[in-house]
């Protein structure tokens, strides 16, 4: 260990102790349990029984199919829409349509959907689309003649379509915003103008020139979306079919079963889900690379007139509808939060009430305070760690990181409940039980991968020559780092931080399990009440839960503009 490389070793140690060890400890317990070893239940012998039990589960094949189809479909469609949406933002057509006037406000329109918890969007959407939902109520009975809701499977359909739709609605804003931020690293306008001056249509230029540069920057966020879609429990619970449900929901049910012996097959199911997710990520990457390779032929063909009116038409319709559904889901929750009763087929609440908002004032201040402290600490730490890691890597290089990076993403690959049980046992052995510090640490394990994933692309794309020039002009390392990297990357840095805030705020199980119920949080309140399915409360808590991330995102999107104005 040379003196010069001490930052590298310091960084590695911090990551190993802070993140890698807890992750491995957490996974270790689960893997042991999957192979029959769970001393707390008096199980000490290695066996494959849990796997056999898992394979005999009725409907397992359907569960797997549902998981994969909804996961891949949602990711592909959300990504396509996000890329199309980004193209649309940069497309300056002469026509002044209503939609084109919204372009400057795209971020402001998307942020509320991004900030809202997944469960809130899911419950809102379920109410919107259900046979007894808002759309049906708006048109009943005068148009539909429905005095009672029809027996139609518009949500929780057996093919998982409404689940896929819910995932698209929630993930589109994430991918779209992250694309817009990443596009700032590419000189889009100049390249487009150049391409168009060479006779390329806007669509062709976007597909052939911009997308191949953009995708590497958002590759990891796309993985995040894919992983989330495959492992979601709360959206699957509200929107997915449930007999059988997706693999993640089935696993969750086993973990929560009153028969504690099911912890063993549940652990096997977690490991299976982990493998499934890892395989899906690899499959996705292979598919994308193949597509990129084959499309090189098309790119080189020089064809520049492609207009694809059918696809453009479909996307032009689908994009505003998707965003509208997201906004309506939130609006309908806001309506419910001030409702007392709302019977079918009334188009608007039958009786109004503010009492839940009033009750809130007395019940949750401590929970809100805890949530904010934990979110600020964990996202701040996660951002610091991410930046330190990337900077150390820039200066010293190293291949070891790539390997370790995978371990860091592990918490995203297995169901939280599986991972947390082992983590909890590990923390308890260290004598850490239910303190705020422990909860912040646990949150960090989930927040860090997200900040890292959203930051890496933009960080790597920063033109190294800026720093080289600055160094050759005699600037110190600190000055290069602060004046060049941080200020040029302010936008993605703040967005990564805001994503971290949102991730932390939404953590339910880590707060409950690692906090042992001693650390109250807004999400614990919200989730325990959501199991009671009272839309009015879900409305109040869902909006409140969205508020903190909303502030964080607004800050992240507005600050760079203010800084730019000042300059």
């Amino acid at each position: 260990m040379s003196f010069k490389s001490w930052p590298k070793w310091l960084m590695l140690t911090a990551l190993a102790v802070g993140i890698l060890v807890p992750v491995l400890v957490g996974l270790g317990e689960t893997i042991w349990a999957a192979f029959g070893i769970l001393p707390a239940l008096g199980r000490h012998t290695f066996s494959f029984n849990a796997w056999q039990q898992l394979l005999e589960l009725p409907g397992l094949i359907t569960s797997l199919r549902l998981t994969l189809v909804s996961g891949f479909a949602a990711t592909t469609i959300a990504l396509t829409l996000a890329l199309f949406g980004s193209a649309w933002v940069y497309h300056s057509s002469g026509k002044k349509s209503f939609l084109s006037q919204l372009k400057p406000f795209v971020q402001a329109i998307l942020v509320p959907i991004l900030a809202a918890p997944h469960a809130a969007i899911a419950i809102g959407l379920a109410f919107l689309l259900a046979p007894s939902g808002w759309l049906a109520r708006l048109f009943s009975p005068w148009l539909t003649t429905w005095e009672l809701p029809p027996n139609l499977a518009t949500v929780q359909d057996l093919w998982g379509l409404s689940l896929t739709l819910g995932l698209i609605i929630k993930e589109l804003p994430f991918l779209w915003l992250i694309s817009l931020v990443a596009l700032k690293q590419i000189d889009v306008s100049r390249q487009l103008t150049l391409a168009q001056s060479m006779g390329y249509s806007h669509t062709t230029a976007w597909c052939k020139i911009i997308v191949p540069q953009l995708y590497p920057l958002i590759r990891l966020p796309v993985f995040v979306v894919l992983v989330y879609a495959l492992s979601t429990v709360d959206m699957a619970q509200m929107l997915g079919p449930n007999n059988p449900p997706t693999l993640a929901l089935a696993t969750m049910r086993w973990y929560n079963d009153t028969n504690v012996q099911l912890l063993l097959p549940a652990s096997a199911a977690s490991v299976l889900l982990g493998i499934l997710i890892a395989a899906s990520v690899i499959l996705w990457e292979v598919a994308v690379r193949t597509a990129m390779l084959t499309s090189k032929v098309m790119i080189r063909s020089g064809n520049r007139t492609g207009k694809y009116p059918f696809f453009t038409g479909v996307l032009t319709t689908a994009l505003p509808i998707t965003v509208m559904l997201g906004l309506l889901s939130l609006l309908v929750l806001a309506l419910w939060s001030i409702t007392w009763r709302w019977s079918f087929p009334d188009a608007f609440p039958t009786n109004w009430s503010y009492r839940y908002w009033l009750q809130l004032m007395t019940h949750v201040p401590l929970a809100v305070q805890h949530s904010i402290i934990v979110a600020l600490m964990s996202s701040g730490l996660a951002l610091t760690l991410s930046v330190a890691w990337l900077e150390v890597q820039d200066r010293l290089g190293g291949h070891l990181y790539k390997l370790t990076l995978w371990f860091i993403y592990l918490p995203l690959l297995v169901p939280q409940i599986a991972f947390l049980y082992g983590l909890k046992v590990g923390f308890l052995r260290l004598g850490l039980n239910g303190s705020m510090t422990t909860v912040i640490w646990a949150h960090l394990l989930f927040v860090f991968p997200y900040t890292m994933l959203s930051l890496v692309g933009s960080w790597r794309s920063l033109d190294k020559r800026y720093v080289q020039v600055a160094t050759s002009l005699g600037r110190s390392w600190w000055s290069c780092f602060w004046r060049i990297k941080i200020s040029l990357l302010l936008r993605p840095l703040l967005l990564a931080w805001a994503i971290g805030m949102a991730v932390s705020i939404s953590q339910y199980l880590p707060t409950l399990m690692i906090g042992a119920g001693r650390v109250e949080s807004l999400t614990i309140e919200a989730v325990s009440l959501a199991s009671g399915a009272d839309r009015r409360l879900v409305g109040v808590y869902g909006l409140l839960q969205a508020l903190v991330p909303l502030l964080a995102y607004s800050f992240a999107l507005l600050l760079p503009r203010l800084v730019a104005l000042k300059k």
């Binding site: 239940l41 009672l148 049980y421």
Partner: protein, 417 residues
């Protein structure tokens, strides 16, 4: 040292004063409990003293606002009376608390557990009892246990056919009931056979929660008890043979009713709260609950139409009791006992049974109450949607836990593809 004495002494004095004066000053008329057995009394006195200043972490399902508010009220009372605070740890599933204790045991944390008290019954209780995760027996130490019928076959001594053995304290009564909107359903089906006919006439208007949910499996058990030739078999552990024999009529009935269920029996609500919401939305006509006050409480909180009513099959319904238990490694065992004892106070039970508060039926033996205490119950407000105990008919015994496990398994083998 002096600091310690100074800070503790006034508190203890305050508690003793509270104990002495509570009976005179409290509007509800809490009486300091007098036990005939002096050794028991001095032991309880010791528990009260140990409990002073403790905060009891009560892990309880948090999905019902009225229950949450009742737990807040309990905490306010125990703090004023005994200087014991209650912190409600809101769970979305009781299994979360069980997992917590299992994890603590796995890590060797045997004294400073995070869970002081759990709202529990049935399979979760069985699991904790079998894994020796519970403190006790302690029920007989509680002065207010004198109000309970603890004879060996009483509802308070047996939890899903498992002997309570003094390891958990009853606090609220649960009875399986059906809820309908009386505006839409005039003639409710009063047996499982009638339910089949009703479903055929009203296709798509009946469903049950998913079977992995306890309300879903309760519905199956209710049907099983009614349809099986000899219900007494269900009190014994299920064997392959007895299960096949006892459940054959159930599966015939279910095969017949399934196509007439909501979404043709291919999809089910996730839990009973969602099912109740579907009743409120008009998607279905019959919901289920484990609380006779469910309709009245639903109306009072705006979750159900004012025309919601409860009905029970004429041969009675499954009933059980909600208990509280203390984990073996609880940090505040004394405090938890004080709170458990407070839950059994006749005035507490009357407050709980009040439909404006919670509407859950008392677990006390009415024969053991004095005239004044009985009067408190008699004076409780009534509601049109609240059935009397007589309306509810006979209570059917929960089958042995092995039946539930096997019913769930066989159901999903038959109906999950």
């Amino acid at each position: 040292m002096t600091l310690d004495v100074n800070s503790i002494l006034p508190k203890r004095l305050g508690v003793m004063l509270a104990l002495l004066t509570a009976g005179l000053l409290s509007p509800l008329g809490y009486s300091a409990t007098a036990s005939t057995d002096t050794s028991n009394a001095s032991q309880w006195q010791q528990t009260l003293e140990q409990a002073v200043g403790e905060t009891v972490y009560w892990h309880a399902w948090g999905g019902d606002v009225r229950t949450n508010d009742f737990i807040i009220w309990v905490g306010e009372q125990t703090e004023a009376l005994y200087d014991v605070k209650v912190k409600h740890v809101k769970l979305s599933s009781t299994a979360e608390a069980v997992t917590q204790v299992i994890a603590e045991k796995a890590a060797g944390e045997n004294t400073n557990g995070a869970v002081d008290m759990i709202w529990i019954n049935g399979p979760n209780f069985l699991a904790m009892k079998q894994q020796e995760l519970l403190h006790g027996p302690f029920v007989s130490q509680l002065p207010n246990s004198k109000y309970l019928d603890l004879s060996s076959n009483s509802a308070a001594s047996v939890d899903f056919t498992e002997a309570v053995a003094g390891l958990e304290v009853p606090w609220r009564l649960a009875r399986f009931v059906f809820i309908v909107d009386s505006k839409r359903v005039q003639q409710a089906p009063l047996s499982m056979a009638q339910m089949l006919t009703w479903a055929q006439v009203n296709p798509g208007r009946l469903t049950h929660p998913v079977i992995s949910n306890f309300m879903g499996s309760t519905f199956l058990k209710q049907a099983l008890i009614e349809l099986t030739p000899d219900p007494s078999v269900l009190q014994q552990p299920a064997t392959e043979q007895s299960f096949a024999l006892a459940t054959a009529p159930l599966w015939r009935w279910y095969d017949a009713i399934k196509p007439h269920l909501w979404r043709a029996g291919k999809s089910f609500p996730e839990n009973e709260a969602i099912q109740q919401q579907m009743l409120s939305d008009g998607e279905i006509d019959i919901a289920m609950a484990f609380d006779p006050a469910a309709a009245a409480a639903g109306i009072a909180s705006g979750l159900l139409p004012t025309s919601a009513r409860v009905f029970v099959p004429s041969r009675g319904t499954l009933g059980n009791i909600s208990f509280v238990a203390i984990p073996y490694n609880a940090s505040h065992t004394a405090g938890a006992k004080v709170v458990a004892n407070f839950l059994l106070q006749p005035e507490t039970q009357a407050q709980m049974q009040n439909i404006d508060v919670l509407g859950s039926f008392s677990v006390l033996d009415s024969n053991k109450l004095d005239a004044q205490q009985a009067q408190v119950f008699a004076n409780l407000p009534s509601s049109e949607a609240l059935p009397t105990l007589v309306d509810l008919g006979p209570t059917l015994l929960e089958p042995h836990a092995s039946w539930t496990t096997q019913l769930k398994q066989h159901w999903s083998q038959r109906y999950s593809q």
